[in-house]
Symmetry: D2
Subunit: 268 residues, 4 copies
């Protein structure tokens, strides 16, 4: 189980969310209280939007709390929209290519959760990628693969539909492989203008997702777990939600990848 | 607070102590229960004796649990005497040069504990080193410095006396600098033949130290905290102890760096 | 273009081939004279056989010349059969998973060379792997993929035939994809008992391969380029060779993956 | 021998100097032609000024050419004044703390050159630091030490005088220690407003220093060696120069640390 935070609003130094003492993501990475694993020391990453359409990306395999570079960058870089992630690997090697966020073109993506039995369905999932996206796969995680599948399935035009399709595809491959059909998925992603988040699981244990106005109302923050400060009024997003943050504020819709299938099945 | 384990006996693969699942140092590094900090993800190191007088040394800044190299090395390398350490930094940069064990000539050393206010007495402590040992200082930790001071003060001929002198010196410099006089020191060190350990503190909170016969009686293990297995009968070494492990077994003496001073003061 | 050295014979410390000053692989990594790229600073690796059937593996992304761990390991570890590699990436990210040697079960493999247009045929080459070997692919290099394909095509029973088949397969996929059919391949590999090497190219520029008795006749060394010492009598292995080193000495056979195909074509 | 580049002018993305293909510092780090060592693969660093008085700092021990993070950062970060450095270690461990630039408060500093016999005079040079700067020393290089000594000797008010004093001090300590008196020193440093450079040596081999207007006249570039492009008109700065770049342009003065001493000696 990993942890992440995302921001959209007036440009602020990344450190206000990423590394400020007492109430930031790095502070959390040492002693997360609601996560299954006690620490998130298997790498970290930040993706931020600035003057270019594609985001900047900084990832490394050290624990976030011990990286001097991250501290300096978070202090110097100012951005109106960024994603930050600390990783707790549930297995597999620690490498930069497996650190979140993942970036493709103007899109960035990060994730907390898992696909049960991923190793057994990884191959057919990779086979569903077009040649272009197959070559764009650099790591070995289920997270990166869900992101690439969402791009394959129309992320550019229908973000909610694309991730619903990616999750449905994973579940159908799991069924075919005789794997327990379990997806837990709390993610944030952006094209540099809009910030989205999803909280979803096939069972009752969707990883948590919270939102709050932050920095004196200058922007909104989405986090996998609330920071330990008393000032911020965190609002828990219920499971089965698709959240959209734009300049006009935040809105939330129902997210249920299986509903479409269920309806189709009912008709048939 | 760091964690460590040391072994002396019949040559065994390092993995039996370092990385075996369920009851090894790496397993502990994820979720230490008696240590102040929950994880030990700020680097690790192993020093082992083989066919050469000086030990081999492998250290890195990654968390021990995510280093594939360490797993392979611990499986391949067999040694009759080795030290293994996982680090939880209490501040300062994570670098290889600050990872334990430290090595100088045939000696190896690792440590769990601290000198209060070290930054204020680091300079006079470094000034007490001879030119040769001053140049042998590669990192910035209090641990390495206590080790080098012990070498300066006669480690080769009187191990207990040398570390007592190093601790006394630190305390006297602390007094001179107006720093709270506090040293907590649980360490292991070796010249490749004998394995020593010390448990000591100026207050009532000396970091723990345990011993046990291990590997079916083939050798002895000294650890900063017992492993979570049920088979091994761990014996807690009391504070104020100087432990010596040779081919003839283990013996323990009282270790009280201030007693000499007290006696001298009484006489005077 | 990378560089490598392999040894088989009486157990020796790895440092004699890997890191001894003046005539070793690391020395070469700084200023290779016959290689296309001036330096080999994109990571390194060693695989060695000891008491276990599977080899030990140590790889990292630093330049070999600046890794203190490698120096210490090469000094302490003694082995009768080992492979050592320094990497000069021709593109792509530097990660441990892309460093040679690659290991699978008891087999180890390292390579100097390239497949032209690999990116265009990577996908069908990966598709030819069985599920087990598909999951065993950790990196993204053409080298690792040729190794896994050779395992797929019978490395255990017919080493020369298996690599010939892997190369033929790569060339046929290249032809199908309209890529220039070019493979340059100088590799060493072992199962822990026998050491093999191949020098081959589809054009006139097969990367070099040399052999020599070494360490006072205690063993044999195979290298991609001779070391700069005057004592060793290096023997250049001609292109189109398959070399086998056993306890009985070295023998060399012709290696021509396309001959079989040519003969088949002639018959048909 | 290392290589570096510094820029002052209209804010530009760092990549124009740091990583642009064909004519940038990273391009050079692979195959430097005028430097003594063929490659500069022992780490790199960038320090840049933005909205805060103190510079941002990003350093790592990988070769610059293989670091994806550096490529992304150099593309996203825009700055009116920055320093970039690629390192070729002449000995000693590769660690982040030994990578240039070095930063202290608002000052940044980087260097190409050496002090002969530094190991023998390191200790008295460190002893000349005040407690505050002694604690600010994180690495073990002669470069960082000269920078801290210059701060000690008045960098804030008299940059040329401070570095002259630091070099004089090193030479006097060398004389006292019976070391060959040799300093080669080509450095750049800044307080975030003004960019300075020095080219100096006690012998005839001062490491090179060049300047050129760059980016269509938007700014000035100072480099240790000219980039391999044909468009830029590089101007070689003679040995014994102290260069100052401000909004008013570039000026150069004579820099001769020993002249003062010589004059004082003549008077006496």
């Amino acid at each position: 189980m990993c942890r992440w935070a995302a921001y959209r609003g007036t440009p602020i130094p990344l450190e206000q969310i990423v590394s400020a003492p007492g109430h930031s993501l790095i502070e959390q990475s040492h002693c997360a209280t609601q996560a299954k694993t006690a620490t998130n020391g298997d790498g970290f990453g930040i993706a931020w939007y600035g003057e270019r359409p594609e985001p900047g990306l900084y990832r490394d395999v050290l624990p976030a709390w011990s990286d001097c570079n991250l501290k300096s960058l978070a202090r110097q870089i100012r951005s109106p929209l960024f994603l930050a992630h600390v990783r707790a690997s549930t297995g597999g090697a620690t490498s930069r290519d497996n650190c979140h966020p993942f970036v493709n073109g103007t899109w960035s993506f990060m994730h907390n959760g898992q696909i049960a039995g991923f190793e057994k369905i990884r191959r057919p999932m990779e086979a569903a990628l077009s040649d272009r996206l197959y070559q764009a796969r650099h790591g070995t995680t289920d997270s990166e693969l869900l992101f690439l599948l969402a791009i394959e399935f129309g992320l550019a035009t229908d973000p909610a539909g694309a991730f619903a399709a990616a999750i449905r595809f994973a579940l159908s491959e799991a069924a075919r492989a005789g794997v327990t059909e379990l997806v837990r998925f709390t993610a944030a992603f952006s094209d540099g203008r809009t910030l989205h988040a999803i909280r979803y699981a096939t069972d009752a244990y969707a990883p948590t997702l919270y939102s709050a106005p932050t920095c004196g109302g200058q922007g909104h923050c989405l986090v996998s777990e609330p920071f330990h400060d008393t000032d911020t009024k965190w609002h828990e997003i219920p499971a089965g939600s698709f959240v959209t943050l734009t300049a006009d504020g935040m809105r939330s819709e129902r997210f249920d990848p299986m509903r479409v299938v269920a309806e189709v099945a009912a008709v048939a």
